[in-house]
Symmetry: C2
Subunit: 257 residues, 2 copies
DNA sequence: CGCATCGTTGAGGCTGATCAACTCGGGTGG
DNA sequence: CCACCCGAGTTGATCAGCCTCAACGATGCG
Protein backbone atom coordinates (compact mmCIF):
# COMPACT_ATOMS: atom_id res chain seq x y z
CA UNK A 1 0.00 0.00 0.00
CA UNK A 2 2.57 2.49 1.07
CA UNK A 3 4.99 1.91 -1.78
CA UNK A 4 2.07 1.96 -4.16
CA UNK A 5 1.10 5.33 -2.80
CA UNK A 6 4.59 6.70 -3.19
CA UNK A 7 4.68 5.42 -6.71
CA UNK A 8 1.42 7.20 -7.42
CA UNK A 9 2.77 10.41 -6.04
CA UNK A 10 6.02 10.28 -7.86
CA UNK A 11 4.78 9.50 -11.28
CA UNK A 12 1.22 8.76 -12.10
CA UNK A 13 2.09 7.93 -15.69
CA UNK A 14 4.15 4.88 -14.86
CA UNK A 15 1.70 3.56 -12.31
CA UNK A 16 0.71 0.08 -13.38
CA UNK A 17 -2.95 0.85 -12.72
CA UNK A 18 -2.87 3.72 -15.20
CA UNK A 19 -1.43 1.34 -17.78
CA UNK A 20 -4.32 -1.03 -17.24
CA UNK A 21 -6.85 1.73 -17.53
CA UNK A 22 -5.28 2.86 -20.76
CA UNK A 23 -5.81 -0.58 -22.23
CA UNK A 24 -9.26 -0.94 -20.75
CA UNK A 25 -10.61 2.28 -22.17
CA UNK A 26 -8.48 2.25 -25.27
CA UNK A 27 -6.83 5.59 -24.56
CA UNK A 28 -3.74 7.04 -26.19
CA UNK A 29 -0.74 8.22 -24.23
CA UNK A 30 -1.78 11.79 -24.92
CA UNK A 31 -5.25 11.21 -23.60
CA UNK A 32 -3.94 9.62 -20.45
CA UNK A 33 -1.73 12.63 -20.02
CA UNK A 34 -4.72 14.95 -20.29
CA UNK A 35 -6.37 13.11 -17.44
CA UNK A 36 -3.22 13.10 -15.37
CA UNK A 37 -2.77 16.82 -15.94
CA UNK A 38 -6.32 17.46 -14.79
CA UNK A 39 -5.74 15.55 -11.60
CA UNK A 40 -4.86 18.25 -9.14
CA UNK A 41 -4.42 16.34 -5.93
CA UNK A 42 -3.41 12.83 -5.00
CA UNK A 43 -4.21 11.97 -1.45
CA UNK A 44 -4.26 9.15 1.01
CA UNK A 45 -7.61 8.73 2.70
CA UNK A 46 -7.89 6.76 5.92
CA UNK A 47 -10.49 4.05 6.30
CA UNK A 48 -13.97 5.23 7.22
CA UNK A 49 -13.89 8.53 5.39
CA UNK A 50 -16.18 9.85 2.72
CA UNK A 51 -14.55 9.36 -0.65
CA UNK A 52 -16.09 12.53 -1.94
CA UNK A 53 -17.34 15.08 0.55
CA UNK A 54 -20.97 15.95 -0.15
CA UNK A 55 -21.32 19.19 -2.05
CA UNK A 56 -17.93 18.56 -3.51
CA UNK A 57 -17.55 19.51 -7.13
CA UNK A 58 -14.85 16.95 -7.65
CA UNK A 59 -14.55 13.57 -9.25
CA UNK A 60 -12.39 10.97 -7.61
CA UNK A 61 -10.28 8.31 -9.28
CA UNK A 62 -9.41 5.52 -6.87
CA UNK A 63 -5.83 4.32 -7.24
CA UNK A 64 -5.69 1.91 -4.34
CA UNK A 65 -8.01 0.59 -1.66
CA UNK A 66 -11.67 -0.30 -1.41
CA UNK A 67 -14.65 1.98 -0.93
CA UNK A 68 -18.40 1.74 -1.38
CA UNK A 69 -21.49 3.70 -2.23
CA UNK A 70 -24.38 3.17 0.14
CA UNK A 71 -27.67 4.46 1.42
CA UNK A 72 -28.94 4.34 4.96
CA UNK A 73 -32.69 4.15 5.52
CA UNK A 74 -34.34 6.13 8.26
CA UNK A 75 -34.37 3.20 10.66
CA UNK A 76 -30.72 2.42 10.18
CA UNK A 77 -30.86 -0.36 7.62
CA UNK A 78 -27.99 0.06 5.20
CA UNK A 79 -27.66 -0.99 1.59
CA UNK A 80 -24.34 -0.92 -0.16
CA UNK A 81 -25.14 -0.35 -3.80
CA UNK A 82 -21.67 -0.90 -5.15
CA UNK A 83 -18.09 -1.49 -4.20
CA UNK A 84 -15.59 0.99 -5.53
CA UNK A 85 -12.28 -0.56 -6.53
CA UNK A 86 -8.98 0.73 -7.89
CA UNK A 87 -9.51 2.25 -11.31
CA UNK A 88 -13.05 3.37 -10.58
CA UNK A 89 -14.16 6.92 -11.19
CA UNK A 90 -16.68 8.22 -8.67
CA UNK A 91 -18.81 11.29 -8.47
CA UNK A 92 -19.40 11.87 -12.16
CA UNK A 93 -23.14 12.00 -11.84
CA UNK A 94 -22.95 14.26 -8.83
CA UNK A 95 -20.70 16.81 -10.48
CA UNK A 96 -22.10 16.73 -14.02
CA UNK A 97 -25.72 16.85 -13.00
CA UNK A 98 -25.65 18.41 -9.57
CA UNK A 99 -27.26 15.52 -7.73
CA UNK A 100 -25.63 13.54 -5.00
CA UNK A 101 -28.16 11.20 -3.54
CA UNK A 102 -25.70 8.63 -2.26
CA UNK A 103 -22.83 8.61 0.15
CA UNK A 104 -19.44 7.04 -0.28
CA UNK A 105 -17.13 5.65 2.32
CA UNK A 106 -13.66 4.19 2.23
CA UNK A 107 -13.63 0.62 3.52
CA UNK A 108 -9.84 0.57 3.75
CA UNK A 109 -7.20 3.22 3.52
CA UNK A 110 -7.41 4.53 -0.02
CA UNK A 111 -5.25 6.46 -2.44
CA UNK A 112 -7.27 8.71 -4.69
CA UNK A 113 -6.63 11.51 -7.12
CA UNK A 114 -9.10 14.31 -7.51
CA UNK A 115 -10.26 16.01 -10.68
CA UNK A 116 -12.34 19.14 -10.78
CA UNK A 117 -15.85 18.42 -12.02
CA UNK A 118 -15.63 21.48 -14.25
CA UNK A 119 -12.76 19.90 -16.10
CA UNK A 120 -14.72 16.70 -16.62
CA UNK A 121 -17.59 18.73 -17.99
CA UNK A 122 -15.30 20.55 -20.41
CA UNK A 123 -14.16 17.24 -21.84
CA UNK A 124 -17.41 17.08 -23.74
CA UNK A 125 -16.22 20.08 -25.74
CA UNK A 126 -12.49 19.67 -25.67
CA UNK A 127 -11.88 15.93 -25.75
CA UNK A 128 -14.85 14.00 -27.11
CA UNK A 129 -13.13 10.64 -26.85
CA UNK A 130 -12.44 11.25 -23.19
CA UNK A 131 -16.01 12.35 -22.64
CA UNK A 132 -17.04 9.08 -24.24
CA UNK A 133 -14.68 7.25 -21.91
CA UNK A 134 -16.38 8.88 -18.93
CA UNK A 135 -19.73 7.83 -20.34
CA UNK A 136 -18.32 4.37 -20.85
CA UNK A 137 -17.34 4.14 -17.19
CA UNK A 138 -20.80 5.28 -16.22
CA UNK A 139 -22.43 2.72 -18.50
CA UNK A 140 -20.29 0.00 -16.98
CA UNK A 141 -21.45 1.02 -13.54
CA UNK A 142 -25.00 0.83 -14.82
CA UNK A 143 -24.41 -2.72 -16.07
CA UNK A 144 -23.09 -3.78 -12.69
CA UNK A 145 -26.06 -2.23 -10.93
CA UNK A 146 -28.37 -4.10 -13.26
CA UNK A 147 -26.70 -7.37 -12.35
CA UNK A 148 -26.97 -6.38 -8.71
CA UNK A 149 -30.71 -5.90 -9.14
CA UNK A 150 -30.98 -9.37 -10.62
CA UNK A 151 -29.05 -10.83 -7.71
CA UNK A 152 -31.11 -9.14 -5.04
CA UNK A 153 -34.39 -9.78 -6.81
CA UNK A 154 -34.09 -13.36 -7.92
CA UNK A 155 -31.03 -15.08 -6.54
CA UNK A 156 -30.78 -16.75 -3.15
CA UNK A 157 -28.03 -16.13 -0.63
CA UNK A 158 -25.72 -18.74 -2.04
CA UNK A 159 -26.11 -17.54 -5.62
CA UNK A 160 -25.65 -13.92 -4.59
CA UNK A 161 -22.40 -14.67 -2.86
CA UNK A 162 -21.09 -16.71 -5.76
CA UNK A 163 -21.93 -13.88 -8.11
CA UNK A 164 -20.33 -11.25 -5.92
CA UNK A 165 -17.06 -13.12 -5.50
CA UNK A 166 -16.84 -13.86 -9.20
CA UNK A 167 -17.62 -10.30 -10.23
CA UNK A 168 -15.06 -8.89 -7.81
CA UNK A 169 -12.53 -11.30 -9.23
CA UNK A 170 -13.28 -10.14 -12.77
CA UNK A 171 -13.07 -6.49 -11.82
CA UNK A 172 -9.87 -6.83 -9.85
CA UNK A 173 -8.29 -8.96 -12.54
CA UNK A 174 -8.82 -6.19 -15.08
CA UNK A 175 -6.85 -3.73 -12.97
CA UNK A 176 -4.19 -6.22 -11.97
CA UNK A 177 -5.11 -6.81 -8.34
CA UNK A 178 -5.49 -10.57 -8.61
CA UNK A 179 -3.21 -13.55 -8.31
CA UNK A 180 -4.74 -16.34 -10.34
CA UNK A 181 -7.90 -17.21 -8.45
CA UNK A 182 -7.07 -15.32 -5.29
CA UNK A 183 -7.47 -11.72 -4.30
CA UNK A 184 -7.50 -9.49 -1.29
CA UNK A 185 -10.94 -8.52 -0.03
CA UNK A 186 -10.25 -6.41 3.01
CA UNK A 187 -13.79 -5.93 4.25
CA UNK A 188 -15.96 -7.39 6.97
CA UNK A 189 -18.82 -9.83 6.58
CA UNK A 190 -21.10 -7.03 7.60
CA UNK A 191 -20.20 -5.17 4.39
CA UNK A 192 -20.96 -8.26 2.35
CA UNK A 193 -24.29 -8.58 4.13
CA UNK A 194 -25.16 -4.95 3.46
CA UNK A 195 -24.21 -5.36 -0.17
CA UNK A 196 -26.18 -8.55 -0.73
CA UNK A 197 -29.24 -7.61 1.28
CA UNK A 198 -28.64 -10.32 3.87
CA UNK A 199 -28.02 -10.46 7.60
CA UNK A 200 -24.51 -10.86 8.97
CA UNK A 201 -25.43 -14.18 10.48
CA UNK A 202 -26.72 -15.57 7.25
CA UNK A 203 -23.67 -14.42 5.32
CA UNK A 204 -21.53 -16.20 7.86
CA UNK A 205 -23.48 -19.43 7.59
CA UNK A 206 -23.63 -19.38 3.81
CA UNK A 207 -19.92 -18.71 3.66
CA UNK A 208 -19.29 -21.62 5.97
CA UNK A 209 -21.37 -23.94 3.81
CA UNK A 210 -19.60 -22.84 0.64
CA UNK A 211 -16.24 -23.27 2.28
CA UNK A 212 -17.22 -26.77 3.36
CA UNK A 213 -18.19 -27.65 -0.19
CA UNK A 214 -14.79 -26.62 -1.41
CA UNK A 215 -16.15 -23.70 -3.41
CA UNK A 216 -13.98 -21.02 -1.90
CA UNK A 217 -11.76 -19.96 0.95
CA UNK A 218 -12.31 -16.69 2.74
CA UNK A 219 -10.19 -15.59 5.64
CA UNK A 220 -8.03 -12.72 6.78
CA UNK A 221 -9.40 -10.49 4.07
CA UNK A 222 -8.34 -12.91 1.40
CA UNK A 223 -10.48 -14.83 -1.07
CA UNK A 224 -9.48 -17.95 -2.98
CA UNK A 225 -11.87 -19.30 -5.56
CA UNK A 226 -11.29 -23.02 -5.13
CA UNK A 227 -13.85 -24.12 -7.70
CA UNK A 228 -14.55 -21.23 -10.02
CA UNK A 229 -16.33 -23.39 -12.54
CA UNK A 230 -18.90 -24.60 -10.04
CA UNK A 231 -19.28 -21.09 -8.66
CA UNK A 232 -20.08 -19.86 -12.15
CA UNK A 233 -22.63 -22.59 -12.71
CA UNK A 234 -24.28 -21.84 -9.38
CA UNK A 235 -25.19 -18.30 -10.34
CA UNK A 236 -24.90 -18.38 -14.11
CA UNK A 237 -22.07 -15.91 -14.02
CA UNK A 238 -21.02 -14.15 -17.18
CA UNK A 239 -18.47 -11.36 -17.24
CA UNK A 240 -19.99 -9.90 -20.39
CA UNK A 241 -21.48 -7.03 -18.49
CA UNK A 242 -18.01 -5.75 -17.70
CA UNK A 243 -16.88 -5.87 -21.30
CA UNK A 244 -17.53 -3.55 -24.16
CA UNK A 245 -15.40 -1.17 -26.12
CA UNK A 246 -15.99 2.19 -27.66
CA UNK A 247 -18.07 2.29 -30.79
CA UNK A 248 -15.71 2.64 -33.77
CA UNK A 249 -17.59 5.78 -34.75
CA UNK A 250 -16.21 7.35 -31.56
CA UNK A 251 -12.90 5.56 -31.41
CA UNK A 252 -11.89 6.43 -34.96
CA UNK A 253 -13.93 9.47 -35.82
CA UNK A 254 -13.62 10.74 -39.34
CA UNK A 255 -15.26 14.14 -39.80
CA UNK A 256 -15.49 13.62 -43.54
CA UNK A 257 -17.41 10.38 -43.39
CA UNK B 1 -53.00 5.83 -28.02
CA UNK B 2 -54.04 5.87 -31.61
CA UNK B 3 -54.36 9.62 -31.93
CA UNK B 4 -51.09 10.01 -30.07
CA UNK B 5 -49.46 7.79 -32.60
CA UNK B 6 -50.87 9.75 -35.52
CA UNK B 7 -49.68 12.92 -33.93
CA UNK B 8 -46.22 11.46 -33.59
CA UNK B 9 -46.18 10.45 -37.20
CA UNK B 10 -47.39 13.74 -38.52
CA UNK B 11 -45.11 16.02 -36.64
CA UNK B 12 -42.74 14.95 -33.99
CA UNK B 13 -41.86 18.52 -33.17
CA UNK B 14 -45.28 19.44 -31.88
CA UNK B 15 -45.70 16.25 -29.92
CA UNK B 16 -46.33 17.20 -26.31
CA UNK B 17 -43.88 14.58 -25.13
CA UNK B 18 -41.08 16.19 -27.13
CA UNK B 19 -41.91 19.50 -25.48
CA UNK B 20 -41.57 17.91 -22.06
CA UNK B 21 -38.27 16.34 -22.95
CA UNK B 22 -36.98 19.66 -24.18
CA UNK B 23 -37.66 21.18 -20.80
CA UNK B 24 -36.37 18.19 -18.92
CA UNK B 25 -33.02 18.10 -20.63
CA UNK B 26 -32.77 21.82 -21.21
CA UNK B 27 -32.48 21.55 -24.98
CA UNK B 28 -32.88 24.30 -27.54
CA UNK B 29 -35.29 24.06 -30.44
CA UNK B 30 -32.36 23.48 -32.76
CA UNK B 31 -31.06 20.65 -30.66
CA UNK B 32 -34.45 18.99 -30.56
CA UNK B 33 -34.54 19.30 -34.31
CA UNK B 34 -31.20 17.55 -34.60
CA UNK B 35 -32.59 14.60 -32.69
CA UNK B 36 -35.76 14.54 -34.71
CA UNK B 37 -33.79 14.63 -37.92
CA UNK B 38 -31.72 11.70 -36.79
CA UNK B 39 -34.81 9.67 -36.05
CA UNK B 40 -35.26 7.64 -39.21
CA UNK B 41 -38.26 5.54 -38.40
CA UNK B 42 -41.30 5.89 -36.16
CA UNK B 43 -43.12 2.67 -35.63
CA UNK B 44 -45.89 1.07 -33.66
CA UNK B 45 -44.80 -2.05 -31.84
CA UNK B 46 -47.38 -4.54 -30.61
CA UNK B 47 -47.29 -5.80 -27.05
CA UNK B 48 -44.86 -8.60 -26.34
CA UNK B 49 -42.17 -7.58 -28.81
CA UNK B 50 -38.55 -6.82 -28.26
CA UNK B 51 -38.09 -3.07 -28.12
CA UNK B 52 -34.69 -3.36 -29.71
CA UNK B 53 -33.84 -6.53 -31.59
CA UNK B 54 -30.61 -7.99 -30.26
CA UNK B 55 -27.64 -7.14 -32.43
CA UNK B 56 -29.44 -4.02 -33.49
CA UNK B 57 -27.27 -0.96 -33.85
CA UNK B 58 -30.14 1.33 -33.07
CA UNK B 59 -31.29 3.37 -30.15
CA UNK B 60 -34.97 3.60 -29.41
CA UNK B 61 -36.89 6.57 -28.04
CA UNK B 62 -40.23 5.49 -26.59
CA UNK B 63 -43.03 7.89 -27.43
CA UNK B 64 -45.94 5.96 -25.99
CA UNK B 65 -46.54 2.73 -24.11
CA UNK B 66 -44.71 0.71 -21.50
CA UNK B 67 -41.80 -1.65 -21.90
CA UNK B 68 -39.22 -3.23 -19.63
CA UNK B 69 -35.68 -4.50 -19.46
CA UNK B 70 -35.30 -7.91 -17.90
CA UNK B 71 -33.13 -10.93 -17.47
CA UNK B 72 -34.23 -14.53 -17.30
CA UNK B 73 -32.13 -16.94 -15.26
CA UNK B 74 -31.44 -20.43 -16.50
CA UNK B 75 -34.24 -21.96 -14.45
CA UNK B 76 -36.83 -19.49 -15.65
CA UNK B 77 -36.85 -16.98 -12.84
CA UNK B 78 -37.26 -13.51 -14.29
CA UNK B 79 -36.12 -10.16 -12.96
CA UNK B 80 -37.35 -6.94 -14.49
CA UNK B 81 -34.57 -4.44 -13.91
CA UNK B 82 -36.45 -1.38 -15.06
CA UNK B 83 -39.62 -0.18 -16.62
CA UNK B 84 -39.25 1.85 -19.79
CA UNK B 85 -41.74 4.69 -20.08
CA UNK B 86 -42.51 7.37 -22.66
CA UNK B 87 -39.54 9.67 -23.07
CA UNK B 88 -36.99 7.00 -22.24
CA UNK B 89 -34.05 6.32 -24.49
CA UNK B 90 -33.04 2.66 -24.66
CA UNK B 91 -30.09 0.84 -26.12
CA UNK B 92 -27.43 3.51 -25.66
CA UNK B 93 -25.06 1.23 -23.85
CA UNK B 94 -25.59 -1.56 -26.34
CA UNK B 95 -24.84 0.58 -29.36
CA UNK B 96 -22.08 2.79 -27.95
CA UNK B 97 -20.16 -0.01 -26.32
CA UNK B 98 -21.20 -3.08 -28.24
CA UNK B 99 -22.64 -4.96 -25.29
CA UNK B 100 -26.23 -6.03 -24.99
CA UNK B 101 -26.58 -8.20 -21.96
CA UNK B 102 -30.25 -7.54 -21.35
CA UNK B 103 -33.44 -8.01 -23.25
CA UNK B 104 -36.29 -5.58 -23.66
CA UNK B 105 -39.94 -6.28 -24.19
CA UNK B 106 -42.96 -4.12 -24.79
CA UNK B 107 -45.55 -4.58 -22.07
CA UNK B 108 -48.20 -2.73 -24.06
CA UNK B 109 -48.43 -1.58 -27.63
CA UNK B 110 -45.72 1.03 -28.01
CA UNK B 111 -44.83 3.86 -30.32
CA UNK B 112 -41.10 4.28 -30.75
CA UNK B 113 -38.74 6.16 -32.99
CA UNK B 114 -35.40 4.70 -33.93
CA UNK B 115 -32.06 6.44 -34.19
CA UNK B 116 -28.96 4.88 -35.67
CA UNK B 117 -26.37 4.18 -33.00
CA UNK B 118 -23.70 5.63 -35.26
CA UNK B 119 -25.46 8.96 -35.18
CA UNK B 120 -25.60 8.89 -31.39
CA UNK B 121 -21.88 8.14 -31.33
CA UNK B 122 -21.15 11.08 -33.62
CA UNK B 123 -22.92 13.43 -31.24
CA UNK B 124 -19.82 13.31 -29.06
CA UNK B 125 -17.96 15.10 -31.82
CA UNK B 126 -20.67 17.11 -33.49
CA UNK B 127 -23.02 18.12 -30.70
CA UNK B 128 -21.36 18.00 -27.27
CA UNK B 129 -24.42 19.26 -25.45
CA UNK B 130 -26.51 16.48 -26.94
CA UNK B 131 -23.85 13.94 -26.06
CA UNK B 132 -24.05 15.27 -22.54
CA UNK B 133 -27.83 14.90 -22.67
CA UNK B 134 -27.43 11.26 -23.62
CA UNK B 135 -25.02 10.82 -20.73
CA UNK B 136 -27.52 12.57 -18.52
CA UNK B 137 -30.23 10.08 -19.48
CA UNK B 138 -27.85 7.24 -18.76
CA UNK B 139 -26.93 8.70 -15.38
CA UNK B 140 -30.60 9.03 -14.52
CA UNK B 141 -31.11 5.39 -15.35
CA UNK B 142 -28.20 4.60 -13.09
CA UNK B 143 -29.80 6.53 -10.26
CA UNK B 144 -33.03 4.62 -10.65
CA UNK B 145 -31.18 1.32 -10.66
CA UNK B 146 -29.42 2.35 -7.49
CA UNK B 147 -32.74 3.01 -5.81
CA UNK B 148 -33.97 -0.31 -7.10
CA UNK B 149 -31.01 -2.02 -5.46
CA UNK B 150 -31.89 -0.35 -2.18
CA UNK B 151 -35.48 -1.51 -2.47
CA UNK B 152 -34.63 -5.10 -3.26
CA UNK B 153 -31.87 -5.25 -0.69
CA UNK B 154 -33.38 -3.58 2.33
CA UNK B 155 -37.06 -2.81 1.90
CA UNK B 156 -39.90 -5.22 2.58
CA UNK B 157 -42.74 -5.95 0.17
CA UNK B 158 -44.91 -3.09 1.36
CA UNK B 159 -42.10 -0.55 1.18
CA UNK B 160 -41.03 -1.77 -2.24
CA UNK B 161 -44.50 -1.35 -3.64
CA UNK B 162 -44.90 2.09 -2.14
CA UNK B 163 -41.59 3.12 -3.65
CA UNK B 164 -42.43 1.70 -7.06
CA UNK B 165 -45.79 3.41 -7.30
CA UNK B 166 -44.36 6.73 -6.18
CA UNK B 167 -41.42 6.57 -8.53
CA UNK B 168 -43.63 5.68 -11.45
CA UNK B 169 -45.83 8.61 -10.56
CA UNK B 170 -42.85 10.95 -10.54
CA UNK B 171 -41.55 9.67 -13.83
CA UNK B 172 -44.89 9.79 -15.59
CA UNK B 173 -45.62 13.21 -14.20
CA UNK B 174 -42.48 14.59 -15.77
CA UNK B 175 -43.59 13.47 -19.22
CA UNK B 176 -47.20 14.47 -18.72
CA UNK B 177 -48.82 11.07 -18.38
CA UNK B 178 -50.44 11.71 -15.01
CA UNK B 179 -53.70 13.17 -13.80
CA UNK B 180 -53.08 14.50 -10.33
CA UNK B 181 -52.46 11.41 -8.24
CA UNK B 182 -53.69 8.91 -10.79
CA UNK B 183 -52.03 7.27 -13.75
CA UNK B 184 -52.41 4.37 -16.11
CA UNK B 185 -50.32 1.34 -15.29
CA UNK B 186 -51.28 -1.17 -17.93
CA UNK B 187 -49.32 -4.16 -16.65
CA UNK B 188 -50.12 -7.32 -14.74
CA UNK B 189 -49.32 -8.11 -11.14
CA UNK B 190 -46.85 -10.65 -12.44
CA UNK B 191 -44.76 -7.82 -13.92
CA UNK B 192 -44.82 -6.01 -10.61
CA UNK B 193 -43.72 -9.20 -8.89
CA UNK B 194 -40.87 -9.71 -11.33
CA UNK B 195 -39.79 -6.12 -10.88
CA UNK B 196 -39.88 -6.17 -7.09
CA UNK B 197 -38.43 -9.63 -6.60
CA UNK B 198 -41.63 -11.01 -5.07
CA UNK B 199 -44.10 -13.75 -5.92
CA UNK B 200 -47.36 -12.94 -7.68
CA UNK B 201 -49.33 -14.13 -4.69
CA UNK B 202 -47.49 -11.90 -2.30
CA UNK B 203 -47.86 -8.88 -4.56
CA UNK B 204 -51.58 -9.53 -4.65
CA UNK B 205 -51.86 -9.78 -0.88
CA UNK B 206 -49.71 -6.75 -0.21
CA UNK B 207 -51.74 -4.76 -2.70
CA UNK B 208 -54.93 -5.85 -0.99
CA UNK B 209 -53.63 -4.77 2.39
CA UNK B 210 -52.54 -1.38 1.07
CA UNK B 211 -55.89 -0.88 -0.64
CA UNK B 212 -57.64 -1.72 2.62
CA UNK B 213 -55.59 0.86 4.47
CA UNK B 214 -56.63 3.51 2.00
CA UNK B 215 -53.13 3.96 0.67
CA UNK B 216 -53.94 3.41 -2.99
CA UNK B 217 -56.36 2.03 -5.51
CA UNK B 218 -55.21 -0.30 -8.23
CA UNK B 219 -57.57 -1.76 -10.76
CA UNK B 220 -58.08 -2.05 -14.49
CA UNK B 221 -54.57 -0.91 -15.18
CA UNK B 222 -55.11 2.28 -13.26
CA UNK B 223 -53.40 3.53 -10.11
CA UNK B 224 -54.70 6.16 -7.73
CA UNK B 225 -52.48 7.27 -4.90
CA UNK B 226 -55.06 7.85 -2.18
CA UNK B 227 -52.58 8.80 0.51
CA UNK B 228 -49.36 9.87 -1.13
CA UNK B 229 -47.99 11.38 2.04
CA UNK B 230 -48.26 8.15 3.98
CA UNK B 231 -46.87 6.21 1.03
CA UNK B 232 -43.86 8.48 1.04
CA UNK B 233 -43.32 8.05 4.74
CA UNK B 234 -43.59 4.27 4.42
CA UNK B 235 -40.62 3.99 2.14
CA UNK B 236 -38.83 7.28 2.70
CA UNK B 237 -39.44 8.30 -0.88
CA UNK B 238 -37.52 11.18 -2.34
CA UNK B 239 -37.70 12.13 -6.00
CA UNK B 240 -34.25 13.67 -5.88
CA UNK B 241 -32.74 10.83 -7.81
CA UNK B 242 -34.78 11.81 -10.84
CA UNK B 243 -33.67 15.42 -10.72
CA UNK B 244 -30.50 17.06 -11.80
CA UNK B 245 -29.59 19.43 -14.57
CA UNK B 246 -26.59 19.82 -16.77
CA UNK B 247 -23.50 21.31 -15.21
CA UNK B 248 -23.29 24.97 -16.25
CA UNK B 249 -19.88 24.26 -17.69
CA UNK B 250 -21.63 22.08 -20.27
CA UNK B 251 -24.85 24.01 -20.59
CA UNK B 252 -23.17 27.35 -21.24
CA UNK B 253 -19.76 26.46 -22.49
CA UNK B 254 -17.42 29.36 -23.12
CA UNK B 255 -14.29 28.30 -25.00
CA UNK B 256 -12.43 31.37 -23.82
CA UNK B 257 -12.97 30.76 -20.15
C1' DC C 1 -5.75 -6.53 31.53
C1' DG C 2 -9.91 -4.71 29.69
C1' DC C 3 -12.32 -3.41 25.91
C1' DA C 4 -13.89 -3.31 21.13
C1' DT C 5 -14.55 -5.49 16.83
C1' DC C 6 -15.31 -9.32 14.18
C1' DG C 7 -16.53 -13.99 13.52
C1' DT C 8 -19.22 -18.05 14.90
C1' DT C 9 -23.00 -20.86 16.50
C1' DG C 10 -27.73 -22.12 18.43
C1' DA C 11 -32.79 -21.44 18.87
C1' DG C 12 -36.94 -19.66 17.50
C1' DG C 13 -39.88 -16.67 14.69
C1' DC C 14 -41.51 -14.08 10.65
C1' DT C 15 -41.71 -12.67 5.91
C1' DG C 16 -42.62 -14.19 1.82
C1' DA C 17 -42.54 -18.61 -1.39
C1' DT C 18 -45.01 -22.51 -3.05
C1' DC C 19 -48.87 -25.31 -4.10
C1' DA C 20 -53.49 -25.56 -5.09
C1' DA C 21 -58.04 -24.24 -5.95
C1' DC C 22 -61.55 -21.08 -7.35
C1' DT C 23 -63.53 -16.70 -9.56
C1' DC C 24 -64.23 -13.64 -13.16
C1' DG C 25 -64.27 -11.50 -17.74
C1' DG C 26 -63.30 -11.79 -22.50
C1' DG C 27 -62.47 -14.14 -26.61
C1' DT C 28 -63.38 -18.03 -29.66
C1' DG C 29 -65.17 -21.71 -32.07
C1' DG C 30 -68.81 -25.03 -32.67
C1' DC D 1 -75.79 -18.27 -28.65
C1' DC D 2 -73.58 -20.84 -25.58
C1' DA D 3 -69.86 -23.87 -24.02
C1' DC D 4 -65.31 -23.66 -23.47
C1' DC D 5 -60.89 -21.93 -22.60
C1' DC D 6 -57.44 -18.88 -21.17
C1' DG D 7 -55.22 -15.27 -18.65
C1' DA D 8 -55.44 -12.59 -14.69
C1' DG D 9 -56.75 -11.98 -10.12
C1' DT D 10 -57.85 -13.86 -5.50
C1' DT D 11 -57.65 -16.71 -1.46
C1' DG D 12 -56.29 -20.56 1.83
C1' DA D 13 -52.83 -23.69 3.71
C1' DT D 14 -48.36 -25.06 4.33
C1' DC D 15 -43.44 -24.57 4.00
C1' DA D 16 -38.73 -22.66 3.92
C1' DG D 17 -35.24 -19.24 3.61
C1' DC D 18 -33.62 -15.92 6.02
C1' DC D 19 -33.88 -12.77 10.18
C1' DT D 20 -33.49 -11.74 15.01
C1' DC D 21 -31.92 -12.42 19.45
C1' DA D 22 -28.51 -14.08 22.23
C1' DA D 23 -24.28 -15.83 23.70
C1' DC D 24 -19.56 -16.95 23.23
C1' DG D 25 -14.69 -17.28 21.07
C1' DA D 26 -10.81 -15.02 18.85
C1' DT D 27 -7.96 -11.28 17.83
C1' DG D 28 -5.92 -6.84 18.27
C1' DC D 29 -4.98 -2.67 20.70
C1' DG D 30 -4.41 1.03 24.27
Amino acid sequence: MQENYDCVMENLATNPLIEKLKLLMDLTDDEVQVILDLSFKTQKLPKGQSLIPSNSENVSLVMDGWACRYKILSDGRRQITSFILPGDLTGVRACLFGVSDFDTETLTDCVTTLIDGKDIARLFYEAPRLAAAVTWASAREEAMLTEHVVSLGRRNARERMAHLFLELHSRLEIVGFVEKLAYGMPITQEMIADCLGLSIVHVNRTLKAMRKEGLLEYYNGYVILKNAKKLRSICGYDSNHLEGTLHPEIADYDPDA
